[in-house]
């Protein structure tokens, strides 16, 4: 895992590829992001492995994971749907969109579907206020969401 990550994070100078594979603390977040991308969450075991590699205490790793809202130590759904709750989105009706998602997925915000496919969350402004109401599904930004589109979106990611 660790080696793999070092390969991905690198600088390219001209045609020659140089990998910055330093085992410094500053690599912590990119490593955690990669684990999260692959597994959907960061387990206790992974935290220990990362701590060993960077020569820090695992609780340091834990403290970083719990600080950031896009890192999590419990398993979430395969796809995470995040609904922006900034004022521009709320004025554009994001609460209705949220209800549509809750109805369609049969879960409440903060929960994960039984089949483990979707988690539904609220998040701070996602920088899509010009296309409000907007949501994020995994890393994809989707604007101008309507009640009709909700089902299409779920179908697309299912």
């Amino acid at each position: 895992m660790a080696k793999n990550c070092a390969k991905k994070i690198g600088l390219k100078n001209g045609n020659k590829t140089e990998f910055v594979c330093d085992q410094t603390r500053s690599q912590l977040i990119p490593i955690l992001q990669e684990i999260q991308d692959k597994k959907g969450y960061i387990s206790d075991k992974d935290m220990q492995a990362v701590a060993d590699r960077l020569n820090i205490h695992p609780v340091e790793v834990f403290s970083v994971i719990t600080f950031y809202s896009f890192l999590n130590d419990i398993k979430k759904g395969k796809h995470v749907i995040r609904i922006s709750n900034c004022i521009s989105n709320i004025m554009a009706g994001s609460k209705n969109i949220e209800k549509e998602f809750e109805k369609a997925l049969k879960i409440k915000v903060g929960q994960t579907t039984k089949d483990g496919k979707f988690s539904l969350e609220e998040t701070s402004c996602i920088g899509m206020c010009d296309q409000a109401p907007a949501i994020m599904v995994d890393e994809q930004l989707i604007g101008n969401v309507t009640a009709k589109k909700v089902k299409e979106i779920i179908k697309k990611f299912k």
Partner: protein, 392 residues
């Protein structure tokens, strides 16, 4: 560049690499001079003079220096960096290269907010193109000894990381908790080395300034605020979007641009900004009056602004990093009081007490988040008395 937008500075025409070539032909000192003479100030909202920042980093004695582009735009209602990084990323990176040349850095980071992860692959492609063109890498554009490269780091969903010292903490692999200042990043930044942290828009402005001159730039805007500002306009209007206006544009001008019909109020500067009532719509965007990172949220006549204040305070409660007391403890108290006011249970005396707390937060919080968290609350309570009733 491939953007179809028009504007006085950021969206004005420019050839790729023109600014960089000119910077390299001018030399370091001259680049620093032109940036200083242009009176360019930080476009993230705080408005620190870019020339001063760069000079401090350039004169710092260190073998290692860093350039950081702050693309962690998390302020509710801003999305201008998303547009810049989608449409003209090359100019952003070029501005970073010019900054690196000016201060003597050989490594740069673009700290991209996690929400914009979908832009990552196209940004990396742009960096590859620049490496091929010799705009990044070793001996950039044939300038012997000028090596510089950029690495993109993804944010992880924390608003506070838009604050420069918190951003540096995050780059170093720590919780995004802001640092005490001084020392400032220009001498003690990333891993303790001199670092400049500038906004995406600032870097684009630098490219234009270097290519077109400080006088050209100073000819746009007002006496105290040179140049232009990108505004991210959203809310109750027909045409939300990113607009570039010269400094000195009034709120009335903005309302016209976005085609808003008789709005009740305009929030300038997002959650950390202030709410402007109709009788002040002649106020102007600029460092002498309304200094902003560019978030403009328009509220129609039917909106109750107490709800707006509550939304902002919920946001701050979620995003406060929790390390300093005024911010961590103050925000929940403000949130409780706004809920009380909403129910009609707030008394005049309570509000006076809360205002004293707001003052404490503005003075004693460690970073901009806590210092600016009460702004919207105070301006809404003061300016929109019709939106709430006090208990007797």
């Amino acid at each position: 560049m491939k953007t179809n937008r028009q504007g006085p500075v950021i969206f004005s025409d420019i050839e790729v690499s023109k600014g960089l070539k000119k910077a390299l032909s001018m030399g370091r000192v001259e680049v620093l001079d032109v940036v200083r003479d242009s009176n360019l100030r930080g476009r993230g909202g705080a408005g620190f003079p870019t020339g001063v920042k760069w000079n401090l980093a350039a004169t710092a004695n260190s073998g290692q220096k860093y350039v950081v582009c702050n693309a962690d735009e998390g302020e509710p209602g801003t999305f201008k960096d998303r547009v810049l990084l989608t449409e003209i990323p090359r100019l952003v990176f070029e501005g970073m290269v010019i900054g690196a040349f000016a201060i003597g850095a050989n490594k740069g980071f673009l700290y991209l907010r996690g929400e914009y992860k979908s832009l990552l692959s196209s940004l990396n492609k742009e960096l590859d193109r620049m490496r091929k063109d010799g705009d990044l890498g070793k001996d950039i554009k044939g300038k012997k000894g000028f090596d510089f490269d950029i690495e993109i780091r993804l944010g992880v969903g924390a608003y506070v990381c838009g604050e420069e010292t918190a951003l540096i903490e995050s780059l170093e692999g720590n919780r995004g908790e802001s640092r005490n200042r001084p020392p400032f990043p220009v001498n003690t930044g990333y891993n303790g080395y001199p670092t400049i942290v500038n906004n995406v828009e600032t870097f684009v402005a630098v490219v234009h300034i270097v290519a077109k001159g400080a006088d050209w730039f100073k000819g746009i805007g007002t006496e105290k605020s040179s140049g232009s500002k990108l505004l991210s306009i959203s809310g109750d209007c027909k045409k939300p979007g990113v607009y570039e206006v010269a400094f000195g544009a009034s709120i009335n001008d903005i309302i016209k641009l976005a085609q808003a019909n008789n709005p009740k109020a305009v929030q300038i500067g997002g959650a950390s900004g202030i709410c402007i009532p109709k009788d002040q719509f002649n106020r102007k965007i600029g460092y002498e009056d309304l200094s902003t990172g560019g978030s403009v949220i328009i509220f129609g006549q039917k909106r109750n602004l107490i709800d707006v204040a509550e939304n902002f305070l919920r946001f701050f409660k979620e995003e406060s990093c929790g390390q300093c007391t005024p911010c961590r403890e103050g925000i929940p108290v403000l949130l409780e009081s706004i809920k009380k006011i909403k129910k009609g249970l707030g008394k005049k005396q309570d509000i006076n007490e809360i205002f004293t707390l707001c003052e404490t937060m503005q003075l004693a919080s460690k970073c901009g988040l806590g210092q600016s968290a009460p702004n919207a609350f105070v301006s809404i309570i003061e300016n929109f008395k019709k939106d709430y009733k006090l208990a007797k």
